[in-house]
C-alpha cells in the first residue's frame, strides 16, 4: 500500500470508527454483509473506469452500459427464453463490443473520449428502453412465470451472482465480493506486473513518448476501453441479479459519476498516468460507507449527495496538499544531505 492509498484507507477507517461508535448496530454481521455487497458491486465498475482514467481518458457511458447489459440479459432470459449460459456470454460479448467501438472511435476516428462516451451514455440508454419498450424485467423467474427456459440454471446463476456463502453462523459472504476479489487481483496484476499495464501508465503520461518507444498506443487505449466496458458489463449482470428487476430507463443511471468519483478519490489523476486498483476499491467502499452511515445515523437522505460531494472535495484537496507538502519536505531533505 503506497502513500496515496494510505490516505483513503485512513478515511475509510475513520468513518467506520465514528459510525460504529455512534451506532452499535453498525457492526452487525448483517450490516457488514450489505456493506460488502454494495461496495463490491460499485467497486467492480470503478476498477474499469480506473483503467480508462489511467490512459488519460474518461468513460461517461458506464452507467448506461450497466443498464443495457442488465436489460439485455433480463430480456434474453425472460422474453426470449434463451439458454442462461448463452445469454451471459452474449451480454459479455456485447459489453466487449461496446468497449471496442469506444476505443476505435477514440483512437482511429480521433474523437475525444468525453464526446464518444457521452454519446454512448445517450445511445445505450435509449437502446435498452427501445428493446423492451421500457418494460421492467426480472432476470430471475417467479414461481409460475412462463417464458423462461432452464429455470434451474437461472436460479443457480442467481446463486452465483447474488448468493451468499456462509462463513460463520451469522456472517455470510456475498458472492459479489468474490467477483471483486478475483477481478481486482487480476486488474492489479495486469496494471503492475505486466508490460501492458506499464504501457498504459506510460501512454497516460506521455502518449507520443510511448508511441516512439514502439508501443502500439492505439491498441493499448482500445484495451483500456474494452476492459472498462467489460467491467461495467460484469457490474450490470451483478446488479441485475442483485435487484431481481431491471428498469430500462433507470438501472445504472448516474453510476458513471459514482465510478469516476471513486476512481478520483482512490488516487487516479484525470490527467492520466496515475492510479492504483487498491485505492479505487477502497474509495468505492468509502462512498458506500458514507451512504450506509447516513442511514445508520439517521441523517436526512437529502444530504447524502452533499456529504458525498464534500468528502470527495476534501479528500482530493487533502491529497493535493499532502503531495505538495511532502514534495517540499523531500526537497528540503535533499538540500540538507
Amino acid at each position: 500500500m503506497n502513500k496515496n492509498t494510505l490516505g483513503i484507507f485512513g478515511l475509510l477507517v475513520a468513518i467506520f470508527a465514528i459510525t460504529a461508535l455512534l451506532n452499535d448496530k453498525f457492526i452487525s454481521a448483517y450490516n457488514m454483509q450489505n456493506l460488502i455487497k454494495w461496495s463490491s458491486l460499485y467497486a467492480v465498475m470503478s476498477i474499469g473506469v480506473a483503467f480508462v482514467i489511467i490512459t488519460g481518458g474518461i468513460d461517461l457511458s458506464i452507467g448506461s452500459v450497466v443498464g443495457l447489459v442488465a436489460v439485455v440479459l433480463a430480456y434474453q432470459l425472460k422474453v426470449k427464453g434463451i439458454d442462461p449460459g448463452q445469454a451471459i456470454i452474449t451480454t459479455m460479448c456485447m459489453s466487449l463490443l461496446i468497449g471496442l467501438i469506444h476505443g476505435l472511435l477514440i483512437t482511429k476516428a480521433k474523437i475525444q473520449p468525453f464526446v464518444v462516451t457521452l454519446c454512448g451514455l445517450l445511445i445505450y440508454r435509449s437502446l435498452g428502453r427501445w428493446l423492451t419498450d421500457n418494460q421492467s424485467l426480472g432476470p430471475v423467474p417467479l414461481e409460475d412465470d412462463k417464458g423462461y427456459a432452464n429455470i434451474d440454471t437461472i436460479n443457480s446463476l442467481d446463486q452465483i451472482f447474488s448468493g451468499k456463502i456462509a462463513i460463520t453462523d451469522s456472517f455470510n459472504l456475498p458472492t459479489p465480493a468474490l467477483f471483486l476479489l478475483a477481478l481486482g487481483i487480476a486488474a492489479a496484476l495486469f496494471l503492475n506486473r505486466t508490460i501492458w499495464g506499464r504501457y498504459l501508465f506510460a501512454l497516460g503520461n506521455n502518449e507520443d513518448g510511448a508511441r516512439y518507444s514502439g508501443i502500439n498506443t492505439d491498441n493499448m487505449k482500445i484495451i483500456a476501453y474494452v476492459i472498462c466496458s467489460f467491467m461495467a458489463g460484469i457490474a450490470g449482470i451483478l446488479f441485475a441479479f442483485e435487484l431481481d428487476s431491471v428498469q430500462p430507463a433507470q438501472t445504472g443511471e448516474f453510476y458513471e459519476l459514482y465510478a469516476i468519483a471513486a476512481a478520483v478519490l482512490g488516487g487516479c489523476s484525470l490527467r492520466g498516468g496515475v492510479g492504483s486498483i487498491l485505492g479505487v476499491v477502497i474509495a468505492a467502499a468509502v462512498i458506500r460507507l458514507i451512504y450506509n452511515s447516513i442511514n445508520m445515523l439517521g441523517i436526512s437522505t437529502h444530504l447524502e449527495f452533499g456529504i458525498l460531494g464534500i468528502v470527495i472535495l476534501l479528500g482530493v484537496m487533502a491529497d493535493e496538499f499532502l503531495k505538495r507538502y511532502s514534495a517540499q519536505r523531500a526537497a528540503a531533505k535533499q538540500k540538507e544531505s
Binding site: N23, K25, F26, S28, Y30, N31, Q33, N34, W38, L41, R129, D133, N134, Q135, S136, G138, L142, E143, D145, K164, F239, E242, L243, D244, S245, Q247, A249, Q250, T251, E253, F254, Y291, N292, N295, M296, G298, S300, T301
Partner: protein, 324 residues
C-alpha cells in the same frame, strides 16, 4: 382489418395519454389505453416523459402543435403547473388522471383517492400487526402529492386519527421520526426516500433492518419499494418476523403475498386509469360532458385471499395491452 389498424395508428391519433414518468405502472395503464382504443375506435398516443416537468411540458406543447383533440395527463407538479394546464385546456380537451390539478380548468379528474388508499394500506398493516409495533415507510420521492396523501393515510390510520378530507389533508413533516399517538399501538419510525434508484431502495431497506431491530412492518409506497423490502428481509433471514405491506402490483410483491412473505397490497388497478381516460375523452369529444369533476377509480385491497384472481387479471391486462 387494415382500417382498424389505421385507427390505432399514432399519426391519426386524436387523443393522447401523458404520464408523469417512466414506470411499469404506466405500462399497465397503457394496456388499458390499448383496450379502450379498440373498444371505442379512437387512436391514442401514449407519452412517458422521462425527465419531469420540463419533458412533460415540452411533450404536451408538441401535442398541441400537432392539433391533438384531447389529453389525459398525470401532472408531475399539479399545483404549480396550473397555468400551463389551463393553457392546454384552452386548446384541447384536458382531463387529469392519477394526480389531480384541482385549481386548473381540467374537465375531470380520474383517479384513486390516495388518502383513502393510504388508510386502507394502514388497515392492512393493522391486520398484519394486530399487536401493534414499529413501522417504517419507504417511498421514492415525497414531492408528489399522491405520495404524501398516501403516506398521511397510512399514518392517520395507524395513529387512529380522524379521517381527513382529500382536498385538505394536513401533512406531517416529511422527516418526522418516531411518530406515535396516545392510545395507538403503532410507531412510525421514519420515512426514507430513494429518488427512484432501485439499488438505493434496497439498501435503504437493508439499513433500516440493521438500524431498527424492533421494526415489525415495512411499508412501501411506490411499486418497487415492497419488492426491495421483501428481498432485504429475506436476506436478513427475518422472513415472517417483519411484515411487508405495499402499494401497486409488481410481480415480486404478488409472489410474496402468495408465499406469505408479504401481507397485502393496494392496487389502483392502473389499467382502469388508461381505459377510463380514453373512454372519458371519447365521450367528451362526442359532446357528453362529465357529471362530476372527480371520477374515482376504486382501488383494490389484495391479500392472500384474492391474490390468484388478481394476478390472473393483471397478467391478462398486460397481455392484452402488449398485443397492440
Amino acid at each position: 382489418k387494415t382500417d382498424s389498424e389505421g385507427d390505432n395508428d399514432s399519426s391519426e391519433a386524436r387523443i393522447a395519454y401523458v404520464t408523469n414518468g417512466v414506470d411499469p405502472f404506466w405500462d399497465l395503464c397503457a394496456a388499458g389505453v390499448r383496450i379502450a382504443e379498440k373498444e371505442f375506435g379512437i387512436g391514442c398516443e401514449v407519452h412517458m416523459p422521462t425527465k419531469g416537468v420540463v419533458d412533460q411540458k415540452r411533450i404536451m406543447e408538441g401535442l398541441l402543435a400537432k392539433g391533438i383533440e384531447g389529453i389525459a395527463v398525470s401532472p408531475v407538479d399539479a399545483e404549480n403547473q396550473t397555468p400551463f394546464l389551463n393553457e392546454v385546456a384552452e386548446n384541447s380537451k384536458l382531463i387529469t388522471q392519477d394526480a389531480d390539478a384541482p385549481k386548473s380548468k381540467r374537465l375531470v379528474y380520474i383517479g384513486t383517492n390516495n388518502y383513502k388508499a393510504g388508510r386502507a394500506l394502514g388497515k392492512l398493516v393493522k391486520e398484519a400487526l394486530p399487536e401493534g409495533g414499529e413501522v417504517i415507510i419507504f417511498v421514492g420521492r415525497l414531492e408528489q402529492l399522491n405520495a404524501r396523501q398516501r403516506r398521511q393515510g397510512v399514518i392517520d390510520e395507524l395513529l387512529d386519527k380522524p379521517e381527513q378530507e382529500l382536498s385538505s389533508v394536513k401533512f406531517d413533516a416529511v422527516d418526522a421520526k418516531n411518530l406515535t399517538a396516545e392510545g395507538s399501538k403503532y410507531t412510525i419510525l421514519d420515512t426514507r426516500t430513494d429518488n427512484f434508484d432501485k439499488a438505493k431502495a434496497k439498501s435503504n431497506a437493508e439499513d433500516a433492518i440493521t438500524k431498527y431491530e424492533n421494526v415489525k412492518c415495512m411499508v412501501g409506497l411506490f411499486a418497487y419499494n415492497p419488492p426491495a423490502c421483501i428481498d432485504a428481509i429475506k436476506e436478513a433471514n427475518k422472513a415472517g418476523e417483519i411484515k411487508v405491506c405495499g402499494f401497486d402490483e409488481q410481480d415480486a410483491l404478488l409472489q410474496a403475498i402468495k408465499d406469505g412473505n408479504a401481507h397485502g397490497t393496494i392496487s389502483q388497478q392502473p389499467w382502469e386509469y388508461g381505459y377510463e381516460s380514453v373512454k372519458m375523452l371519447k365521450n367528451i369529444l362526442d359532446g357528453k360532458q362529465p357529471e362530476t369533476s372527480f371520477h374515482e377509480v376504486p382501488f383494490l385491497v389484495v391479500t392472500k385471499d384474492n391474490i390468484d384472481e388478481f394476478w390472473a387479471k393483471k397478467k391478462e391486462m398486460a397481455e392484452l395491452g402488449k398485443q397492440d
